[in-house]
């Protein structure tokens, strides 16, 4: 299932790419004029992602691994357009995400990105069906079609008989499957999942991963996880550490896997 990481100029651009991306978060707020007069120093910063480059192609499942604080979630958020980089460029289907307005990025996520969280983040007061159908409401899809599409997807993830249940009435595994159905309902080109099995037991986690494997047609999936079994469904696993890519096994245009690292050149790697 490995996707072609082609450098051919005629081929379509990757679904998403990050080039020399750095993301720095500021802890607290910048001092204002009075604060500066009073000698308040600038708040501390945290570099969550440091000079990272990665490409995600259609049809591939890319795993992001690394210890806590390695920048997996931040990289996911950058690729999904939830954050903009401090430095470098994140492109989505060739478009520079940083050049888009907030509203345009929201629209981009609506139409092209599906997001699955570790803690599911379903809307508690809505049924499974209404949760799945919510993005379609924003798209202006009619009620009947929304309902039909949501039920089809819930059926597909094995929850055909739980469509009217609210999240509080579902198990963790069921909630995660609802979240997957929600992520797929707009037929996105990229699905990002942050620790999708982190809250689930082994069996349930395995079923959830099967859903991801089934969902790869014409789209790319990026999974961030600590869990090796979760990452095992990936076509490649990009390893991060302290915000930097330390390993990204990807085939070059000749079909040879090119282990890149933020720290090392290709030549250095082969030496």
């Amino acid at each position: 299932m490995a996707g072609p990481a082609s450098a051919n100029r005629a081929s379509p651009p990757p679904v998403a790419s990050a080039t020399d991306v750095t993301k720095v978060f500021i802890r607290g707020s910048e001092p204002g004029r009075i604060g500066r007069l009073l000698g308040r120093s600038a708040p501390p910063t945290v570099t969550a992602v440091d000079d990272v480059s990665i490409e995600i192609e259609t049809g591939e499942i890319v795993g992001l691994s690394g210890p806590s604080g390695s920048g997996k979630s931040t990289l996911l958020h950058l690729l999904a357009g939830l954050e903009v980089p401090t430095e470098g460029t994140v492109r989505f289907q060739g478009r520079d995400v940083a050049s888009l307005s907030n509203r345009q990025r929201t629209r981009l996520r609506l139409e092209h990105v599906g997001i699955v969280f570790q803690h599911f983040h379903l809307l508690e007061s809505l049924s499974a069906r209404a949760n799945v159908a919510l993005p379609l409401v924003e798209l202006g899809v009619g009620r009947r079609t929304r309902r039909q599409r949501a039920e089809t997807l819930l059926e597909r993830v094995g929850l055909g008989d739980r469509t009217g249940h609210r999240p509080g009435e579902l198990s963790g595994g069921e909630q995660q499957r609802v979240a997957i159905a929600r992520a797929l309902v707009t037929d996105p080109t990229l699905v990002v999942a942050d620790e999708p099995t982190g809250e689930l037991d082994t069996d349930t986690g395995r079923r959830v991963l099967e859903e991801f494997e089934r969902a790869t047609d014409d789209r790319a999936i990026v999974l961030a996880s600590h869990d090796e079994e979760t990452l095992a469904i990936s076509d490649r696993v990009v390893k991060l550490h302290d915000g930097r890519v330390v390993d990204d096994p990807r085939p070059d245009e000749k079909g040879v896997v090119d282990h890149r690292s933020g720290e090392r050149t290709v030549a250095e790697f082969h030496e």
């Binding site: 990105v113 997001i115 009619g142």
Partner: protein, 405 residues
């Protein structure tokens, strides 16, 4: 995006907003939503109660102080009018009964009342006027809105049932009757052809219903004119008292009678409509102010607590505008429900207030209760919701976005 798509989206979010609110109120967030609803409801209930009392004052049905009035009327199936009851059963031996009622402890004043629509002539004018016969006594003050001050006390012509006492011929005209007959004090008039009547007073401040022309005369003289002297008949009794307990005695006066309360006969008009309007307006302003502040506080807390869900929506691609629609719908629904609950509750409180009032200080309700108050309260609650919207939306815009934790 086409208009149709936009409309579908708006309707969709309205629907989601309604479902979300209902689910939160009944299942997922009951306490918080119920707290907001109850807060609005309490404010609106207060508004309804104060407005009910204000309207009660304005319509003049309220008996204030300790003045209490009763009307004893024959028991009938149909509707009865306190003024015109010519085709109704009548009471007999009313002068004797009047003396008996007057002897009851707590009774300040009492009079039988006979009302007939009769032709009155003055010079070449001839008009039909409601002629009301009474037994005047100190404290009666007015009957049918016309002052009885100018009438001699104790109905002299009756003379212990002989009807040969002094014929006073005293007539007090309401301003409406005086206008119709072009009569003034001292003019001689004829009632049903009987010419021994003279206008003793024209009550310019009379408050007879609308412009109904009313002439108040001695009861026995009216009985003589109408033939009601045969059994000493009258239509009703009016009783002024300071003791609600008198009602039990009054109910035993005639076996087939009803004792009704009326405030308009002798009750002191301590409140005028301006005060009532001021009271109702104050209640409205207070309800809107307090209600809005309450909704701002509770909804604000709710939105802050809900920010993770708002952030989730943002990540899914739900625009801030759509989220504003959702929170706006939720706010308006919650306040509307609060308004409805408060209005209905307010009507309940009015019942309780009236019950307590009639058991203690008055004989009739002090506050008006009307189903339109439900509409009024709900509309005011909706206004509260609408007034809260700008802040609610500002706050939503402020807290939404980012990545859910």
């Amino acid at each position: 995006m086409s208009i149709r798509t936009r409309l579908t989206r708006i309707v969709g979010f309205l629907s989601v907003g309604v479902r979300r609110t209902v689910a939160r109120a009944t299942a997922t967030d009951r306490q918080r939503v119920q707290f907001t609803v109850l807060g609005v409801a309490a404010t609106i209930a207060l508004l309804v109660v104060v407005t009910g009392i204000g309207v009660g004052l304005a319509t003049g049905t309220t008996v204030y102080d300790d003045d209490v009035d009763y009307w004893i009327v024959p028991e009938t199936d149909g509707e009865r009018s306190l003024l015109v009851a010519t085709d109704q059963p009548q009471f007999g031996s009313v002068h004797e009964t009047n003396d008996r009622i007057r002897s009851y402890e707590g009774v300040d004043v009492t009079s039988p009342v006979l009302a007939e629509v009769l032709r009155i002539e003055r010079d070449d004018r001839s008009e039909f006027v409601l002629v009301v016969g009474v037994v005047n006594a100190p404290g009666l003050e007015s009957v049918a809105g016309v002052s009885t001050d100018a009438l001699s006390h104790d109905d002299p012509h009756y003379a212990n049932g002989t009807y040969d006492g002094e014929w006073t011929g005293e007539v007090v005209l309401s301003s409406g009757a005086a206008g119709l007959l072009d009569a003034e004090r001292g003019d001689e008039i004829a009632i049903e052809g009987e010419e021994r009547f003279a206008v003793h007073d024209v009550d310019e401040g009379s408050s007879a219903g609308g412009n109904v022309p009313v002439a108040v005369v001695q009861l026995s003289e009216l009985q003589t004119l109408t033939g009601a002297s045969e059994h000493d008949q009258a239509d009703q009794f009016v009783v002024g008292t300071t003791t609600p307990a008198v009602r039990d005695d009054l109910e035993g006066v005639y076996p087939t009678s009803e004792v009704l309360t009326r405030g308009e006969l002798t009750a002191t008009q301590v409140a005028d409509s301006d005060l009532s309007l001021a009271l109702a307006l104050t209640a409205l302003v207070v309800a809107i102010s307090i209600g809005t502040l309450f909704v701002l506080t509770t909804t604000g807390l709710e939105i802050v607590a809900d920010r993770n869900q708002l952030a989730t929506m943002s990540t899914l691609g739900i625009t801030t505008r759509s989220q504003l629609t959702l929170t706006g719908v939720q706010t308006v629904i919650v306040t509307a429900i609060g308004g409805l609950v408060g209005s209905v509750g307010g009507l309940g409180v009015i019942r309780v207030v009236n019950e307590i009032a009639t058991r203690t200080v008055t004989t009739e309700p002090i506050a008006v209760s009307h189903y339109l108050f439900v509409v009024y309260g709900t509309v005011v609650a909706l206004a509260v919701g609408m007034l809260s919207l700008p802040y609610v939306m500002l706050l939503t815009r402020h807290v939404t976005g980012g990545v859910p934790e």
